[in-house]
Structures are given as structure tokens and as C-alpha cells.
Amino acid sequence: MIVCVAVVGHQNNPLYIQSFTEADDALKLHHIVHCSLDVIDERVNNPSKTGTTLNEAFLGLLYPALNYKVYGYLTNTKVKFIMVTTDLDVRDTDVRSFFRKFHAAYVDAVSNPFHVPGKKITSRTFSESVTNIVRSYSFN
């Protein structure tokens, strides 16, 4: 199950963070997402290590936290998408397609002329579509 998705701006400022758990673990997920930014930075600065091509937006598994797996995705505008899942057996292709859909939803949201770039995404439509995307992926 995907427990959290987040959009983080190019200055590592949170643009959107939404958890999908019942428990009151927002703080924990915030921390996990925040920490994973370090890993993203590391991946981006040392692309040779990751082995992925430069054009690849999908950053792969960022780090396995205690019970979670954190995946990352970096857009051309250095906006980061982070997804935290509790599923342990996840196929990369699934995550890739998840992020592609997520990216499309994000692009729709920021194309709104009333959206201020760099400000938090408050669009209800965006959060609805993200919820739908999250619901449609269970990975198992």
C-alpha cells in the first residue's frame, strides 16, 4: 500500500504531501520524505553510481527505511516526487508508471494559471487525482 506521496520543489520545499494511512503518522512520513531528499541529492550529484541514464526521471528505490520503501522521481524542473510504500515486493515498472501518472497530474495542477510556482499545491482536483492514482496501485 502506498502510504505517502509528496511533491517537493527544487529548493527542497514541500509543495504537496499527503499520507494515506489511518494512523497519526504524518510526522514520521514527513521525516521520511524529508530524509529521502538527501538521497535524491546524492543520486543526482553522483549519477555514475546509480547507473541510470541522465534522461531518466525515475530515481528508483531511494532507501529502505524500517518498514517502508521510498521511491523517487525527479522532473526536468528539479521537482521531486517521492512515494513511500509498505509493499515490500514492488516491481520497478509499476513504480515507473505510477510516477508517470503522478507527473501528469502534477503538470495539470501547475498549469493552472492561478497556481503560483513554488507555492504549495492546494488544488482539490490535484489531490483527488492523486488519490485515485494511489488507489489504483497496490503493487501486490
Binding site: 527542497n12 520545499n13 510526522l27 521525516h31 524529508h34 538527501d38
Partner: protein
């Protein structure tokens, strides 16, 4: 790798153990120095350059440089009790926590500082100590050999009775540590004998006797003498106290107070000799011995196979004996001892080979703990001998996971292994991996986990590039663990560091959490001020849920209350102050009657005032110039305000929370400095978040005097969740000087005072003049030059309705008041909409009640209309004191819509101050004018009479709910007489005009200008009448007098505003329709019922389809004696060109007229019949006649009474625009009868302009004109 910290640590921790056995008297001797015997020796057990040649297994000699001995009292040689060890570790942490306590007060470190710190300073030093202690909890474990005592030092004091026996006693087996006795450790160890001589109270004779006795008993080499406590007084102070670093609790300067420098040298020499002469050679020998033995039994293929077979056989042995499977004498232990000894002698090759040998054995035996221990040692050996990192990694990983597999019992070992590993990784700059090593050894125990997590966090700082997010996260985790173990100091410490990570980010959820918790913890340790400071940062927690916000606020106020004092907080975020909303309203020479007028754009006022204020060029009266001359340059940019008059500041407060918050005593913070000591203007610009207790209260005092030189308004209000409120704050200076508005303060829950300094004020002070705006810096906008108090005019308009109908005419009173004693004069007023408002002429002129005063019969002088829009009050008007001036104003809502009325009243002061000579009072009102009656007029010329016109009036009631009654219709100017064409009852059957109702009615108007030339004198009575009554019920009602002010003046302005391009055209009619609200439809229920409404319609032009109007002028009835058959009648055709173009008209008569207009004279009874048309009915009749007759085919020519055009039958004339021409005509009739003289045709050709480019033409048939010719008697 030896040089790294981990290398040093290994040197210290994996080094030979010396067991100390000493008598109580020895201890007593050394306790004089505040030290035990072991402690006394400890500092001298580290040899940085011992320089001893060593040969172990090979033939190669090498020299040992660094060497360390570990001294333990025999009683300490045992596996530490787990609980005791835990306590000790806890104590280490608590102690460290107490040490950091005073640091906690300071501001949290900046992230840049953390990053720029040298590596060694990033982690607190007590971690090394803690780690060492942690490793020590595992000392003397049974599966390792490096803690086995290598040697034993037996110490006896010279004061002891029978010292030789004591020596023997000391090594009595039942006093030895149990580990040696039950076979874990080899009890056969090197023994060394030491006699301690206390110089203070022992005699040298006895000592030397005992020493010689010892030497003879135990051998010369194995005995030593240590003379100590040479200082009789015991007050030696050591410059660099060698014991200080080992014993921290006692004050360091007392340590070793009885030991002189010589004593220390002696101890040093003793230890050096002991190590180099005895221990190292002993170990060397032991290594060689063991190596030989093992080579014989284990090395070589045969031995290995044998060993393997033997192990296999042992497989059946159950695991239950695992713990004591090996004794010191078992071959496995021997190999392990060999390895450890070799390790300690720095022969890592040998050590490794032994470990390798043994590790397979242990593995086969499934002795996992032993196996892991060996793996761990292999890792260390690999590391320290700079071998491949892969080997190290493999071994450490192996050891770690093996330990972990053992469950709880192995966890401590795993921890140690992890610590080693982390240290090794750090030594290789692999900080990230080190961090994960720390993370792995967190375990379940929170305190332990806290320390490990914190160590991990520092590793993240050291990674290149630093991983600050992880640093922060681990600190937070660690802090939480600390807090769980009540280590609040440490919790605060970690969170404090974490703040530095999160402070600059926008991750508010995390930030709030960190600040809130650290705040609470600070409160726990009693640092309430710091607690408050941290809690303040969470007050702006609008993104948190409501319960969270409530908790935050509740805890915040709890803490604030605990501090028991008032906190003044600069930059308090609750409520949030919207600086862009800041508006300063003040009055210099411009004064405002109301707030609404102050908010009007300055340029509107300026354009309004252009004419009445003295122009800039007039020099002296210009206050700006004057000011610049009179004042130092410094103040040129300041705004001017007058003492005694308040400066208002509008500021928006916003509650960021979901809970409602009450805010008390909101006021401005101001400084007022008198002109004399202006230089002393202190720039108190406190830092963004400084916390003081009522420190800046003196801000609100005038600096010049003890009493407050200005007064401030205070406000209390409550902001609901998320609510915004605009708040008006005022400051009223009471003396001259420079007033600076510095900021705003407010109270929150009684004990917190929020202060906000206006620093970055957007220059939005609305009242700034445009051209000065650029020069003004934000602070200047809040700086005022206070000048001596001046008279200030207050004005208001009484009973000004907010909403009224178009055309509504009101009588209003402008009330002006000057409260000061000095008089004002030269009042002038300008009104933005003269069409709407008309000032009266006299003070309070209306005596009779409005609107009756407007009716005819009230004597009034007709005023000429004042064309200039400036109204000057009479010169003798001067205002002073309590007297108020009431001046009448007429208001007429000219057009529907929303209208902003601006009044500006200019006045000059007597007793003029140097800076300000005049002031203006600005008033602004908004009117909402609703549509009411709409009229339109159509005037068509009368076909028969040139001077008469038919007027059709269309009225529509556009009001939504009210109905109106029409009172009168008047023409303006006296030229046009107006008369009804039908009865009022038929026009208005319901008396009033309902909403939406439209109505048309007809009137006749008559041009009186040329009256007298008309033939019909009967109309002269009506002609002079310019008003028509349009009501029926009350005949007593008088007409409203439209030539009097104000109706006349309003009409004049209507005329000019309704004016069109051709307004000069003389043939236009102006109408005024006067109506009032129907009495029945008092729907609004307000007292504010319009009394009369006047509707002005100007420049109504006479319209007709052709540009000509004409009439035949001649007699209507004629008597002729038809005895002379021909009767010639002279007629005149008057043609008027009503168009603006030149018209050429050709006139043709047709004799054989197809006309049958006249009732056939043949039908008889012609003699008695007369037809005298009545004027009022004529139009209708003619139209009827024409309508009914035209359709008919012409009757026979014979039937019409013959007449002929006997004069001019055809002509062509040019008629100038709007002029009249006459054509003389003549007809001849031959018989009596009624003749219709319409048998002519006018063909006109009109060129609109002179150039005749656009011409139009047409033909008109003549109007019927009936002429009765009668037989004269």
C-alpha cells in the same frame, strides 16, 4: 591505520592486562593523594615510544613503539554485572547531560557553523568515553583472550607486618578472581613483586631490609621498590596534572598532592621497566611457545585432516556445554591466546593466521560466539594492518550478524562490534556507512539507541556532501529516545541541533514538532524563557489541525504562566500582521471629515482643490516651500501633522489559527522627540526576535519629558479562527517635535505582549503626495513633524440620504464647526458635482417648511446662476469656538447611479502658524441614486398654426417599488405657454404612476414670443401660463416656482450637462416635470421619503418629418355680395424653414383640385351652416377629416365649389435656415360656400450645409384650410 582514533582505541583496549594485588596499607598510602594505587599508576601505562625489540614467530626482529598496559585490581577481573554496567553507562550520560546544561541556554548552533566545525568537534567528546565504557562492559568475556591477565603485580607496603608472607598471601588462589580459578583464564602468569615505601611515615631501614628479604625470596629481578609521597606537606601542585583526565569527579588540583616530581619519575620508570623488561619478553616467549606447539599439532595437511576428523566426531556432543566448552588449556583457546598475544605485540600477520585457523574450528563446533569474536578480531587485525577493506567488511559483517543471531546475549557483543566497525568506517571517511553501522546497533533499549542514533547523526554531517536532512532526522529520533529515558538535557541538546536543520526550511510540520517539544522540555528543566522563545515559533501553526493548535496554545500559555512574568515578544506571530495593509491617515493642511474621505485617492482631491488653494507659485503661502525654508533638511521628507490631532494607522490583523484568539490592548509604539534634541533619536531596532520583560516600555514615553507627550488608543478585540480584522490605531501628539511610529504592540492572554516593529513598510501611506512618494523611504512615512496646534474645521452634512430617487430634491444643512479658539476665515467651498448640489445663499434661509417654500407665493429673489463651481462664503463668516455655521445646501439627484460627492472647504487661519497658512476640509459622501420617472418629449409642429406645437410626453416609472404622482409640468423661460389637451382625469385615471407603468399624454405649447402677431387672441390667457397642473384632487395646491433657486439653478446645470452640440438652437423647449412619491406607496417605511422630485428635460427640439412648416394666413369667414360674381380673397402663405440647412421651396397651385374636403354645398342647407373650428379640437378634427377623406376616390369635379388661384400660381423661394418667408396668394371664388384651400403643393429641396453636397427633397400637399364665404346681406 594505527594513527587513527580507532587505531589508538584498539591500542588501548586490546592491550595486555596486568592484575594488581595489593594490601590495604598500600591503598592507604596512595589515598593520601586522593587516588587508589591503580589510579596512581594508570597515567604511566601508555608508552608512546617504548622501543623494545620483539621477535615472535618469524626470525625477523621488529621494534615495538607504542605500548599500553591495562591495570586492573584483582577484584575487578570479572565479567561486569549487566545491571551495574547499565547503571554506569547511564551515569556517564547523565553526567554528560549535566555538563551541557549551561550550554542549553544559548542560541542553537547555525547549520553553517556545524558544517565548518572541524570533524573532531562535531560530536561531543563524551561519546568516546561512553563508547569505551560500553566496550568495557564486555571485558573479561570468556570467548576472548585479550582480557586475560598477562602479568600480576603484587604490591605490599613496607609498613605491612611480615611483608613476605603478605606477598604469598596475596596470590593465594582463593583470593584470586574466579575466572582464573575456574579455568577460563590461565592462572599461571608472570608475577612481579613491588614494595611500596611511604616517605612520609615509613623508615628506610625497614624498607631496605624487607626489600632484600624479598629479593632473596622471589628473585632479584622480580622485585622492585617504589618510594612515594616524598612531599611531607602534601601540597604539591602539578602543572599538567597527569591524573586529571582519568578522574574527573574530584577537583583535579588535589590529585597527587603528596607526590613530587621525583616520585612521578620513579613511577614512570617503574612502569616502563615493568613493561619492557618483564611483560613484553614474557609475552614474546609465550607467543613463540604457543606457536611452536600449534605448528606441531595443527599446521600441515596431516594435522588439518586429523583435526577435521576429530571435529566431526565431536559433532555428536550436545550444545549444552557450549559456554564452558573450551578452557584456557584447550587447543582452541591456546590458538586464540596466541592470536591475541600476537595482536597485542602488533604482529598482525601471526594474529590473523591464528584467528583464521581457529575460526573454522569454532564454526565447525558451532561455537558461534567464539566464532564471531574471532571474526571481529580478524576484522580489526585486517584493518589495523591496512589490508583490503573488503576483508574487513566481510569479517565485521560476519561477526556482527553472528552475534545478532545469538539473540539478546549476543547483542552487547554486536554493539561493540558495530562500534568498532563504525569507527573503522569513519577512519576511512565512509561516514554514511558508519552511520548505518550505528543505526544497526540501536537495539531496543532507548537510552542506548539514543546515543547510537546521535552518533549516527553526526556521521551524516561528516559525509561529503553533508546529508543534513538525515542528520536532523536522526537527531530528532535520538532526542525522542533521550526524552523517553528522562534524559531531558540530552533531548534538548539534540533537538537544539536539529532546529538548525529545519529552521530555514518550509517543512512546517516537522518544524512545529521540534519547536514545540523543545519548548516543553526547556520548561521541564526550568528554562522558561528559552521555552517561551521556542514555543513562540509554533504559534503560527495554521497548517496544523485544530486539536494540535489547541495543545500548542495551551502549553504555550502554561509555560508563559509558569515564568510568572510578562513577556514582551518581538515578532510574535499571533496574530499575524499584514504589513501590506498598513495605511497611515493623518492630517496636515488637508483634513478630512470622515474616514471615507481620507481614503479617497489624493489626486481626486487635488484636482478638486486646484482652483481654490493658493497656487504653488504664489510663494509665501505654499507650505511646502515654507517648510523647506524653515526646517532643517532632515525633516523635509517628513510628513506634517498637528499637535492635538490624531494620526491614524490602519493595520490588518489576521488570526492564523483555527481557534479564536482574543487580543487586548492593541496600541502603537511611538517616539516623540522635541525639536531641540532631535539628534538623540535613538535607533532602537531590536533584532527580529528578542525577548525582554517590559524592556521597551519606555518606548511609549516621550523622551523629552516625564509625562507622556502623546496619547495612544488601545483596542481589544477577538479574532475568530482564520479571521482578518482591520484595526484602526491612533496616536495623538500633544506637543511639537518629531513623532515616529515605531511599531505596534498587543497583549495576548495577559502575560504575553507582542511587539511588531514596522521595519519594511511598503510605502503605501495613502496620503503622500504623488511626487514626493518616490523620495519617501518606508520609515519616513511613519515619521511626522508635529507642529503647533491649529484650528481645525469640522464639517458634516445633516440628513444626507444614502439612497434616493433620481430627481429627488432635498434640503440639507452643512454644519461647520471650529472647536479651537482662534478664528478661521476666508471660507471657500468646491463641490465635485455642481449638478447635484447647490449651496444656498444665506445662512439658514429656509423658514417655511420644505417643500412648500418652493411653491409660488413665497417671496424670494431670483438669483442669477453662479456659473463658477467655487462657492465663496461671505467675507464676514468667521468661525470660532463653539459657534457653528449652518449653511443650506440643495441636493438634487440628477442621474441614477452611484455617485461620489466630494466637498472641499478651504479656510485660512488667523494667527497663522509659520508652516501652515490654510487648511482644507474634505468631505466625501456616496449617494445611491435609483431610477425614478423617465420622461421624453416629442414636439411636433401644429399643422395649422405656426406658433403652436404638439407635445407628446412619455413617462415611464423605472422605480422598482414606488409609485409616483405627477404634480406639474412646466416649461422654462417664459417663452412657451403650455396647455392641456385633455382632461387630467383621462390622462391619469389612477392618479399615480405605478412601478413600470408608462404613460403618454399630449400638451400643446405655444410660442409666446411673437404673440400678438397671431390672429387668435382668444388664446392669450393660456399663453402666459407656463405650468400645467397634473393633479386633480387638491385644487388649493400651488405650483412650484421653477424660476426660483434652487430649481432654476439646478435647471441651469441640467441645461449645461444635457447640452448637445447645437444647443444654441433657439427653438428648443425645456421642461420640468415635478412629481412626488405617491402617498399610498410608502413602501420603504423610512422617514426618508422624497418630498418632491424634479425631472428636467432640456433642449427638446421641435421635430417634424419635413423641414418646412407653413400655414395659410387669411380670413376664415368672409361675407361677400355675390352680386358681383367674383370675389377675390387675399391670402398669405407663411413658410418656415425649421431645418438648419438652406432650403429652396417651389410652390405650385393646382386648380382642378381633387379635393372633396368641403361638405358638398349642393347637399343644401348651405346657408345656415357655419363652421368655426375650436382651437383645442382642431387638430383632431383635421386629422380625422384627412384620414377619412383621403382614401376616398375624388368626387366629381363639378361637385366642388369652384375657386381658382388667381394670384401667384407658381413660385420658388430660398429660405434661410430657421427663418420665415411669406408668399402672397390670391383666390377667386364665385359662389358662397366653404372652400378647402389645400390644392397646392410645396416641393422643397434641402441642402444640409452650404456646399449642397447632401441634398434631400420632398413634396408636401397643402393642409386643408377652410374658408367660408357667405352671402352678405
Amino acid at each position: 591505520m594505527v594513527e587513527t582514533s580507532v587505531g589508538k582505541m584498539l591500542m588501548e583496549e586490546v592491550s595486555p592486562v596486568v592484575m594488581i594485588l595489593c594490601t590495604p596499607l598500600v591503598e592507604e598510602t596512595f589515598l593520601k593523594n586522593g587516588l587508589s594505587f591503580v589510579e596512581t599508576l594508570k597515567p604511566f601505562c601508555n608508552f608512546s615510544n617504548i622501543d623494545v625489540p620483539v621477535r615472535t614467530s618469524g626470525d625477523q626482529l621488529y621494534r615495538l613503539r607504542k605500548f599500553t598496559l591495562r591495570l586492573f585490581n584483582a577484584s575487578d577481573i570479572k565479567q561486569p554485572n549487566v545491571e551495574v554496567a547499565k547503571k554506569r553507562l547511564e551515569h556517564v550520560i547523565t553526567e554528560a547531560g549535566e555538563k551541557v546544561f549551561h550550554d542549553l541556554k544559548s542560541d542553537p548552533p547555525q547549520i553553517t557553523d556545524i558544517l565548518s566545525n572541524p570533524e573532531a568537534e562535531i560530536a561531543p567528546t563524551w561519546f568516546q568515553y561512553y563508547n569505551k565504557e560500553l566496550i568495557r562492559t564486555l571485558s573479561f568475556s570468556e570467548h576472548e583472550a585479550f582480557d586475560h591477565p598477562v602479568a600480576c603485580l603484587l604490591v605490599v607496603s613496607s609498613k605491612d607486618e611480615q611483608p613476605i608472607n603478605k606477598f604469598v598471601d596475596l596470590f593465594n588462589t582463593n583470593r584470586l578472581p574466579s575466572l582464573l580459578n575456574d579455568g577460563v583464564m590461565d592462572p599461571k602468569i608472570l608475577k612481579h613483586y613491588l614494595l611500596v615505601h611511604d616517605n612520609q611515615d615509613a623508615t628506610t631501614e625497614r624498607t631496605s631490609k624487607v626489600l632484600s628479604e624479598m629479593r632473596s625470596t622471589f628473585g632479584n629481578n622480580e622485585c622492585n621498590l617504589l618510594c612515594t609521597n616524598s612531599s611531607k606537606e602534601g601540597n604539591v601542585e602539578h602543572q599538567a596534572n597527569p591524573w586529571a583526565s582519568f578522574k574527573s569527579s574530584v577537583s583535579a588540583d588535589k590529585l597527587g598532592c603528596a607526590l613530587t616530581g621525583d616520585d612521578i619519575v620513579e613511577i614512570k620508570d617503574l612502569m616502563q621497566e615493568f613493561a619492557s623488561r618483564h611483560i613484553i619478553p614474557y609475552m614474546e616467549q609465550k607467543v613463540r611457545e604457543l606457536n611452536q606447539q600449534i605448528s606441531a599439532t595443527r599446521k600441515g595437511l596431516r594435522n588439518q585432516i586429523k583435526n577435521l576428523w576429530w571435529r566431526k566426531g565431536k559433532d555428536e556432543v550436545p550444545d549444552s556445554t557450549k559456554g564452558s566448552m573450551y578452557t584456557f588449556s584447550s587447543p582452541e583457546s591456546q590458538i586464540r591466546i596466541l592470536g591475541d598475544y600476537a595482536f597485542m605485540l602488533h604482529d598482525y600477520e601471526l594474529a590473523l593466521s591464528s584467528y583464521r585457523l581457529i575460526s573454522t574450528d569454532y564454526k565447525l563446533d558451532k561455537a558461534w560466539k567464539h566464532y564471531a569474536g574471532v571474526q571481529e578480531m580478524m576484522g580489526l587485525a585486517y584493518f589495523i594492518s591496512d589490508q583490503s577493506i573488503k576483508e574487513v567488511e566481510y569479517c565485521m559483517e560476519n561477526a556482527f550478524s553472528t552475534y545478532m543471531k545469538l539473540g539478546r546475549s549476543g547483542f552487547q557483543n554486536a554493539t561493540r562490534c558495530g562500534l568498532w566497525w563504525a569507527e573503522m568506517l569513519k577512519a576511512r571517511d565512509q561516514y554514511k556507512e558508519a552511520a548505518s553501522a550505528y543505526f544497526r546497533i540501536c537495539g531496543e533499549e532507548p537510552l542506548h539507541a539514543a546515543v547510537m542514533l546521535e552518533q549516527a547523526s553526526y556521521c551524516f554531517v561528516l559525509t561529503k556532501p553533508a546529508m543534513l536532512n538525515k542528520y536532523g532526522f536522526h537527531l530528532v529520533l535520538s532526542g525522542d529516545h533521550y526524552k523517553n529515558c528522562d534524559q531531558v538535557n540530552h533531548a534538548i541538546r539534540t533537538y537544539r541541533s536539529a532546529i538548525s536543520v529545519y529552521e530555514s526550511t518550509t517543512w512546517s510540520h516537522i518544524k512545529d514538532h521540534v519547536h514545540f517539544h523543545i519548548g516543553r522540555w526547556y520548561a521541564l528543566v526550568g528554562m522558561h524563557d528559552v521555552a517561551v522563545r521556542n514555543m513562540l515559533k509554533v504559534l503560527d501553526c495554521g497548517n496544523q489541525s485544530k486539536p494540535t493548535q489547541e495543545i500548542f496554545l495551551r502549553d504555550f500559555f502554561d509555560i508563559v504562566q509558569k515564568t510568572g512574568m510578562k513577556h514582551e515578544v518581538v515578532g510574535l506571530q499571533l496574530p499575524f500582521i499584514n504589513m501590506s495593509s498598513l495605511q497611515v491617515i493623518y492630517e496636515d493642511h488637508r483634513t478630512y471629515a470622515s474616514l471615507a474621505s481620507a481614503l479617497v485617492q489624493e489626486r481626486i482631491w487635488q484636482s478638486l482643490e486646484d482652483d481654490i488653494i493658493p497656487s504653488l507659485n504664489s510663494g509665501k503661502s505654499n507650505w511646502l516651500e515654507l517648510q523647506s525654508k524653515l526646517l532643517p533638511k532632515k525633516y523635509k521628507e517628513s510628513n506634517v501633522c498637528v499637535a492635538g490631532e490624531s494620526v491614524k494607522v490602519d493595520l490588518e490583523f489576521k488570526n492564523p489559527l483555527l481557534i479564536s484568539t482574543s487580543i487586548t490592548r492593541v496600541s502603537l509604539i511611538c517616539e516623540l522627540t522635541s525639536n531641540s534634541d532631535d539628534i538623540k533619536l535613538v535607533d532602537k531596532e531590536p533584532s527580529s526576535l528578542s525577548l525582554g520583560t517590559e524592556s521597551s516600555a519606555e518606548h511609549n514615553q516621550g523622551t523629552t519629558s516625564g509625562f507622556s507627550s502623546f496619547t495612544l488608543s488601545e483596542m481589544d478585540f477577538t479574532l475568530g479562527g482564520g479571521e482578518k480584522k482591520m484595526v484602526r490605531l491612533t496616536v495623538t501628539p500633544s506637543e511639537e517635535g518629531i513623532l515616529k511610529i515605531v511599531g505596534v504592540r498587543w497583549g495576548l492572554s495577559g502575560s504575553v505582549v507582542g511587539v511588531h516593529y514596522f521595519k519594511s513598510v511598503p510605502a503605501k501611506a495613502k496620503t503622500n503626495k504623488g511626487r514626493r512618494k518616490n523620495k519617501l523611504t518606508p520609515t519616513d512615512a511613519l515619521k511626522f513633524l508635529v507642529i503647533k496646534s491649529l484650528p481645525r474645521l469640522e464639517g458634516s452634512i445633516d440628513h444626507l440620504p444614502e439612497q434616493l430617487y433620481a430627481g429627488d430634491l432635498r434640503y440639507l444643512v452643512l454644519e461647520l464647526k471650529n472647536k479651537s479658539e482662534s478664528p478661521i476665515k476666508n471660507l471657500k467651498m468646491k463641490i465635485s458635482h455642481p449638478r447635484f448640489v447647490n449651496p444656498g445663499n444665506h445662512e439658514e434661509e429656509v423658514t417655511t417648511e420644505f417643500p412648500d417654500c418652493l411653491k409660488k407665493g413665497h417671496e424670494k429673489n431670483i438669483v442669477q446662476c453662479d456659473t463658477s463651481s467655487i462657492f465663496s462664503f461671505p467675507k464676514d463668516v468667521s468661525l470660532q469656538g463653539d459657534k457653528s455655521l449652518r449653511w443650506p445646501l440643495w441636493l438634487r439627484a440628477a442621474i441614477p447611479g452611484t455617485i461620489s460627492l466630494y466637498f472641499t472647504i478651504y479656510y485660512e487661519m488667523e494667527n497663522v502658524s509659520s508652516i501652515m497658512k490654510y487648511r482644507t476640509l474634505r468631505m466625501h459622501y456616496n449617494l445611491k441614486v435609483l431610477p425614478s420617472l423617465e420622461t421624453s418629449f416629442e414636439i411636433t409642429p401644429s399643422p395649422s398654426r405656426l406658433q403652436e406645437f404638439l407635445v407628446r410626453m412619455d413617462i415611464v416609472n423605472r422605480a422598482n417599488s414606488d409609485s409616483f404622482q405627477i404634480h406639474q409640468l412646466s416649461t422654462v423661460g417664459g417663452r412657451w405657454g403650455i396647455s392641456l389637451l385633455e382632461r387630467v382625469d383621462t390622462i391619469l385615471p389612477f392618479k399615480s404612476l405605478l412601478p413600470g407603468q408608462a404613460l403618454s399624454c399630449h400638451f400643446m405649447i405655444k410660442d409666446n414670443r411673437k404673440s400678438g402677431t397671431e390672429e387668435d387672441k382668444t388664446m392669450s390667457v393660456l399663453a402666459s401660463q407656463t405650468d400645467v397642473k397634473l393633479f386633480t384632487q387638491d385644487d388649493e395646491e400651488k405650483f412650484f416656482d421653477i424660476v426660483n433657486s434652487p430649481l432654476a439653478s439646478f435647471h441651469e446645470s441640467e441645461r449645461s450637462s444635457q447640452g448637445t452640440s447645437d444647443q444654441l438652437s433657439p427653438n428648443t423647449v425645456d421642461f420640468i416635470l415635478i412629481s412626488h412619491l405617491a402617498k399610498s406607496s410608502n413602501s420603504s417605511g423610512v422617514a426618508d421619503v422624497p418630498k418632491i422630485l424634479s425631472h428636467h428635460s432640456c433642449h427638446n427640439r421641435i421635430r417634424s418629418s419635413n423641414p418646412l412648416s407653413w400655414s395659410l394666413d387669411g380670413p376664415q369667414t368672409l361675407y361677400h355680395d355675390f352680386s358681383t360674381p367674383l370675389c377675390e380673397i387675399q391670402l398669405k402663405l407663411i413658410i418656415r424653414n425649421t431645418s438648419t440647412g438652406l432650403s429652396s421651396v417651389s410652390f405650385n397651385t393646382t386648380d382642378c383640385l381633387p379635393d372633396a374636403a368641403a361638405p358638398t354645398p349642393s347637399s343644401g342647407n348651405q346657408s345656415g351652416w357655419r363652421y368655426v373650428p375650436d382651437v383645442t379640437e382642431e387638430m383632431k378634427l383635421t386629422s380625422d377629416v384627412m384620414g377619412s377623406r383621403l382614401g376616398k376616390p375624388p368626387s366629381s369635379m363639378e361637385s366642388s365649389p369652384p375657386f381658382i388661384w388667381s394670384g401667384l400660381s407658381s413660385t420658388k423661394v430660398q429660405i434661410q435656415p430657421l427663418s420665415t418667408t411669406e408668399i402672397p396668394l390670391q383666390i377667386s371664388v364665385f359662389a358662397p360656400g366653404i372652400y378647402n384651400l389645400s390644392s397646392y403643393k410645396l416641393t422643397w429641396e434641402l441642402s444640409e450645409h452650404e456646399d449642397a453636397s447632401s441634398t434631400s427633397s420632398g413634396t408636401c400637399q397643402g393642409y386643408p384650410y377652410y374658408l367660408s364665404v357667405l352671402q352678405s346681406e
